[in-house]
Amino acid sequence: MRIILHSDCNGFFASVECLYNPEIRHLPVAVCGDVDQRHGIVLAKNEIAKKYKIKTGEAIWQALKKCPDLYVAKPHYDRYIRFSQMATRIYSDYSNLIEPFGLDESWIDITGSVKDFQEATKVANEIRMRVKEELGITVSIGVSFNKIFAKLGSDLKKPDAVSVITPDNFREVVFPLPADCLLGVGNATKRKLKNLGINTIGDIADCPRDILRFNFGKNGDTLYSFANGYDTSTVKPLGYSSLPKSIGNSTTPSRNMENLEDVKIVLTILCDSVCRRAREQNLIAGTVSVNIRDKDLFIINRQAKLNRHTNLNREITAAAMSVFEGNYEWRKAIRSIGVSLSDFRSGGEAEQTSLFTNEEKRQGLYELDCSVDSLKKRFGSYCVRSALMLKDRELSSFSPKEDNIVHPVGYFH
């Protein structure tokens, strides 16, 4: 049997901010994006703010309505990254199998270093104490025999606590919990389950597999195995990265985009960023998607298959522009826009050339892109830019590649 820990830093961004500002520790604190940049939502909150029912993801004004005395702190991503690395350094004293899930969560497989759950609990408590002493923030740790229950365990008691879910007690501990405590059950699934008379995790576990499969397809099987503790997914070793499913960037510029030229400026920068990231990993993409959100927050997402896999700036930008032009009717100004590449193939593979393309020219474009990449790597993204960027410095003054913070992707990614 495996023994897996899931460590979750409580109110991570807010805890770090409170550590650095002793004078705000007794106040309700929320770390929020920049209002002027129109990123004004709550990213994290401390325990005191939680009492006011402040939720991650709500707008600052909503939070201030619930709690007028809320202290709104600016995020410091460099600090969070450093703290995340310090936490990983502690975990790595106990195992090499450490799989981060965002900056503030990690699974740690300690099967090889302990003999039973009693010892595992000791290790979990030691980690919890060390994080408190060495980082000055608290963690909740779940100890269990699979990743799903370990994660669930870390949510049971907060902050600064350890919860153990063993094969002997999981029926008593896990089954009475509401269905949406299970990883993978969001609002939509919860509603659908409710219609079937399924309210708790125990109900999912007791439900005949066929019924779940009939209603949720492949995900029904997943739900069934998660609820019963059959999950066998492994904790990946530190530094492991699989072939990405997609590479994307999006932005909300400081003003709305009003016309095609505005969109072209922003899309050019986004495409440059995603192409650079694809080139870094030597990947070529077969599909380009464009995500558009208008000023009333209505979202459309359209994609197109490329004639040929590519990671050339020119080809991707042209494809993204044509997806945009073919699908947006300009009834409203645009608030934010995103581009993502998917359907990847490794760039080194042999490929079918086209009778009508000048392959030499294409190779030249690739080398040009790579040269500009290496300049940007040494001197920053602003050192070489397309002349188009000079037309509107307000819209073009961002660099998604460098500002890109990798947020947790879905578990099923």
Binding site: L19, Y20, P22, M86, R89, E134, L135, G136, I137
Partner: protein
């Protein structure tokens, strides 16, 4: 209170970084007579986290923190 300070430090042949002298803001320089303990630690008082050196300076024991590449003491 977090008090950033200038420090003269020495790398030993194993690559360990050890503080030797502490330069106080009023110009006084204190020799660090002995380092009693080195560990990763947070300073709740000053607000920060890094490597904490427990130093004996002129008969007193004081914590000196190295955070990234800045040194600080948790002043009173």
């Amino acid at each position: 209170m977090k008090e950033y300070v200038s420090v003269t430090a020495r790398f030993d042949p194993d690559g360990n970084l050890l503080p030797v002298k502490l330069h106080w803001k009023d110009g006084r320089v204190f020799d660090i007579d002995r380092i009693l303990d080195i560990r990763y630690a947070a300073s709740l008082k000053a607000g920060g986290a890094g490597i904490r050196y427990l130093c004996r300076i002129a008969g007193h024991e004081r914590y000196l923190f190295l955070e990234d590449n800045r040194w600080f003491v948790d002043g009173k």
